[in-house]
């Protein structure tokens, strides 16, 4: 099953400027692994050995996956994943 991941601006240096990447995977974790296969290095920015980094939020639709089942959160047709990293600036 394919899912769209929306890439926030600060991470687009790792996706050659692309703002949406279509990935495959039955769970959020699998989708992010596929994202890293397509754009190596982005996993490091999103996850550490404990899971999703403490200053990054991953949403399926409007739901923070921390309050679902984390990286094991299942995906269904039509879901989109968005990433909200901590940013500072203005």
């Amino acid at each position: 099953m394919s899912t769209i991941i929306r890439i926030p601006t600060p991470l687009r240096t790792l996706t050659s400027g692309v703002d949406e990447v279509t990935v495959t995977g039955a769970t959020v974790g699998e989708a992010l692994e596929d994202l890293d296969r397509k754009h190596p290095g982005i996993r490091e920015r999103l996850m550490d050995e404990k899971g999703i980094r403490r200053f990054v939020n991953v949403y399926v639709g409007d739901e923070d996956v921390r309050f679902l089942d984390g990286l094991r959160t299942p995906l269904k047709a039509g879901d989109d994943i968005s990433i909200v990293p901590a940013i500072a600036g203005g």
């Binding site: 600060p10 403490r54 600036g89 203005g90």
Partner: protein
């Protein structure tokens, strides 16, 4: 003369007794302060230790060429006084520091935080939580912006959203740049949520994200983390000064 009572959707609200502190007079703080002053708040506090630079002018709308080299709080006060003479302006020509942060925010009803560095953002979050003062955080880098409102009870808080200071790899506007129009959109959303706090709207926990390339503005409600280090089961009781020892100045 700015009227203290403003028409709002068919009814009128009185904001003349409200006190708002703006932390960081950069691309977000300037338009946020502009909006709040004209919205009729009673007292506007301005906190920043920087001076106006030429590179600021494309997005920091309270300043002009003649202000370059002037402390931001002084230049912003001049602009705001001309725009809204009825607003009482309090200037705090300092960066937010751990030793005085709680006392500073305690003098206000709501804080609008638009700092350019994570240390000041997290310090503002800590101080507001401990002083029980609502805060609206804002940030903009390149084409992305986020705004997050924390209510009086402090839950959910900034550390429910971002648990801790980033360790490398996160960008600020000084490294990545920010598109001038972006900060206007993000600051308007910040001012709207701050006015929501003043007007008694339920804005706590609202997260607004804006994608400047697509124009998509998305609003979500953040849930409180049970184990949040600021407002949850592991909540702090004082500011860890060592944690913020390297805090840099707000923009």
């Amino acid at each position: 003369m700015v009227a203290s009572r403003r028409a709002l959707g068919g009814f009128r609200v009185n904001r003349s007794h409200s006190k708002v502190l703006v932390v960081g007079l950069g691309g977000l703080g300037c338009p946020a302060a502009w909006t709040l002053a004209l919205a009729g708040v009673g007292v506007l506090g301005l906190c920043d230790d920087d001076q106006v630079e030429l590179a600021n002018l494309h997005r920091q709308i309270l300043f002009g060429v003649a202000d370059v080299g002037t402390p931001k709080v002084a230049a912003a006060s001049r602009s705001l006084r001309a725009l809204a003479p009825s607003v009482v302006l309090r200037t705090h020509p300092t960066r937010l520091v751990p030793e005085t942060a709680i006392d500073l925010v305690r003098g206000y009803d709501v804080v609008v935080e638009g700092a350019d560095n994570f240390a000041t953002k997290f310090l503002t979050a800590d101080a507001c939580a401990l002083a029980r003062v609502p805060v609206v955080h804002g940030a903009a880098v390149r084409w992305v912006g986020t705004v997050f409102a924390v209510g009086m009870d402090g839950r959910p808080c900034y550390r429910c959203l971002f648990e801790d200071l980033p360790t490398g790899g996160s960008l600020g506007c000084s490294e990545a740049g920010v598109m001038g129009p972006m900060v206007g959109v993000v600051a308007a959303a910040q001012a709207d949520l701050a006015l929501g706090v003043i007007d008694g709207r339920d804005v706590a926990g609202q997260l607004v994200t804006f994608n400047g390339r697509t124009g998509e503005l998305r609003r979500r409600t953040v849930a409180a983390r049970p184990d949040c280090p600021l407002c949850g089961s592991r909540a702090i009781h004082s500011i860890d000064e060592a944690r913020y020892a390297l805090a840099t100045g707000a923009d």
